[in-house]
């Protein structure tokens, strides 16, 4: 019989993502972990959430795992296939109408203490050491939607000053977004990594450690974070129950497209 107690940190990430979606919410997902997490949310924690992708596909319920947000696996099983600009407008209108039913998942290569994210380049913008895809939909999402940021938790990624801000977080503090002209009532809510969950202080908008996985610790987080991080409020996050792990492995990602089962 399969062992469902040997959970991985990637599975913990997927579960953290799933739990961050409230029932009835509209989740903007990409492929990979957010899609797995959102599928898990829909299966367990938030059965009435709906999934949308930045290519314009609305209320997606893929049967096979898609490789991109434009994949016909999403297109075939959705409610509406909107041209991209309709999605863009919808996203802005959710802010204009002051609703709070959207949540979005974005990733990046670098992040700073205020949740500003870089998915453009390492090094100088004009002469980068490493060039990435660029914004995709992330900049627009980070403008209008509360975000959950997925990161690999490494010192070289959690930096005091990131090389390029692709998607705005809280900029440099509580007035940061208003100062630069961005909606001030939107911003990053949480950072989910392979070591734990970070949130942002309500007063300072600086990242702090909310909780660490069983395999991590406050010391481990401090060591792998390139800026000073408050761990004083940190809790240990309970390990997942085997039935949740079973659902991930058997139902959500049976082909291990995004989450490998430990040997």
């Amino acid at each position: 019989m399969a062992d469902y107690t040997n959970y991985t940190n990637r599975e913990m990430q997927a579960i953290s993502i799933a739990k961050s979606i409230s029932d009835g919410q509209i989740a903007i997902v990409g492929t990979g972990l957010p899609l797995i997490g959102a599928a898990l949310a829909k299966r367990i924690y938030a059965p009435n959430c709906t999934l949308i992708v930045e290519s314009g596909l609305m209320d997606c319920a893929p049967i096979e795992v898609p490789r991109s947000v434009g994949d016909i696996r999403l297109m075939a099983h959705c409610a509406v296939q909107w041209p991209n600009v309709r999605y863009v407008g919808f996203q802005a209108n959710e802010w204009l109408h002051d609703t709070s039913r959207m949540v979005a998942f974005i990733g990046g290569a670098q992040i700073d203490a205020y949740g500003n994210v870089n998915s453009t380049c390492i090094g100088d913008y004009h002469n980068p050491v490493t060039r990435f895809t660029g914004s995709g939909g992330a900049n627009g999402i980070a403008t209008f939607v509360n975000t959950i940021i997925m990161m690999q938790h490494e010192k070289r990624r959690f930096m005091d000053k990131i090389d390029y801000v692709t998607s705005a977080g809280w900029i440099d503090g509580p007035d940061g977004r208003a100062k630069v002209g961005l909606p001030a009532n939107r911003g990053p809510q949480m950072v989910v990594t392979d070591r734990g969950i970070m949130k942002f202080d309500e007063q300072t908008k600086r990242m702090y450690l909310y909780g660490y996985y069983e395999t991590s610790s406050p010391e481990d987080i401090i060591e792998n974070t390139g800026f000073e991080i408050d761990v004083s409020k940190a809790i240990k996050i309970d390990p997942p129950t085997p039935d949740i792990i079973k659902i991930i492995r058997e139902e959500i990602d049976p082909k291990q497209a995004f989450i490998k089962v430990p040997q």
Partner: protein
């Protein structure tokens, strides 16, 4: 008024050195790859390439050295190559001019052009590198006729003083290339599934080339006008080109060719391997028929979309697992 062309004639007639060019589709979906290959074969160069979310369409043209300036928002064969490698290489080595917008901004710029707006005011990009950095300087822009002189402008919102907004220029697209499921003799197009930004390109571009899976009569395509999205007078050339989006997807017709994308991923790692890829899959095959023959009938048959799904899945296996 005759619009039905051979691919080579359509490309040679409407695609020229220095053109501002844009492609339909989305990363690995409905990308006009056969047309891109024909451009590479024919030798046109010095493009300003502006394509919304792209994959190997842009990467091939960049790798072949044909792109002078690249307007980027996202470039990846997602799921196989997370950052398109020739694109990445060209920027890391300083080989091309490039500019970054967010995808939202990029598609609004196409849309604004299609709506005939003088520019598009938005509330995005503020507070980020997208406004802090200009990939192409004002000086360089002034030297390139077809690029707007400004990446963007920032203005106080005249209806809401004290609030800054970003004004995006609208592109003046010389030629757009789309791949669609169905077109008729007169250029009327039917796109099955998401249109992405294709209709915007067809309206906004001075010339539009459409490659299609099925070429049908004008009468046939008009039997269901609700399913059509591009009128013939927005299209200059129609090319009947089955599998013209391979290795990308074409909803209801065929799926992506994943092993091909994996091969491309490897081949695009070095210029040398990429040049060999171009020799094997572009230059030496001579035309799209040669390309399809090289792929082989069985491989193409195996990509066929399953009715009811719109994509390919192994139904035999599903039935057995059933």
């Amino acid at each position: 008024m005759k619009k039905v062309y051979q691919l080579s004639d359509a490309i040679s007639k409407f695609v020229h050195d220095g053109d501002y060019i844009a492609f339909g589709g989305f990363t690995t979906n409905r990308k006009p790859i056969a047309a891109v290959s024909e451009i590479i074969r024919q030798g046109q160069k010095d493009f300003i390439l502006d394509s919304g979310p792209t994959g190997s369409d842009a990467d091939m043209l960049i790798g072949a050295g044909r792109v002078k300036a690249y307007i980027n928002c996202y470039t990846a064969n997602s799921g196989v190559t997370n950052v398109s490698r020739r694109f990445r290489h060209a920027i890391e080595k300083g080989e091309i001019l490039f500019e970054d917008y967010s995808q939202d901004a990029a598609v609004l710029m196409f849309h604004g052009a299609a709506l005939g707006l003088p520019y598009v005011p938005i509330r995005m990009m503020l507070g980020t590198g997208l406004v802090d950095h200009w990939g192409i300087s004002k000086e360089d822009r002034q030297k390139i006729d077809k690029l707007p002189n400004d990446k963007f402008l920032i203005q106080d919102d005249p209806f809401n003083p004290g609030h800054q907004i970003v004004l995006l220029p609208v592109p003046k697209i010389d030629v757009a290339i789309l791949h669609v499921q169905m077109a008729s003799f007169d250029g009327t197009c039917r796109i099955d599934g998401d249109e992405f930004h294709d209709v915007d390109l067809a309206i906004a571009s001075k010339h539009c080339i459409v490659t299609c899976e099925e070429l049908v009569t004008d009468e046939y395509i008009r039997r269901e006008p609700s399913l059509n999205t591009i009128p013939g007078f927005c299209v200059d050339a129609v090319v009947h080109l089955p599998h013209g989006a391979h290795p990308s997807q074409c909803y209801g017709c065929y799926d992506y060719d994943n092993p091909f994308y994996v091969m491309y991923d490897k081949a695009s790692k070095t210029q040398e391997d990429f040049d060999q890829f171009l020799k094997d899959w572009v230059y030496d095959v001579k035309d799209h028929s040669g390309y399809l023959n090289k792929l082989g009938g069985a491989r193409l048959a195996d990509l066929k979309a399953v009715p009811g799904f719109g994509y390919h899945t192994d139904m035999t296996k599903m039935a057995q697992e059933g």
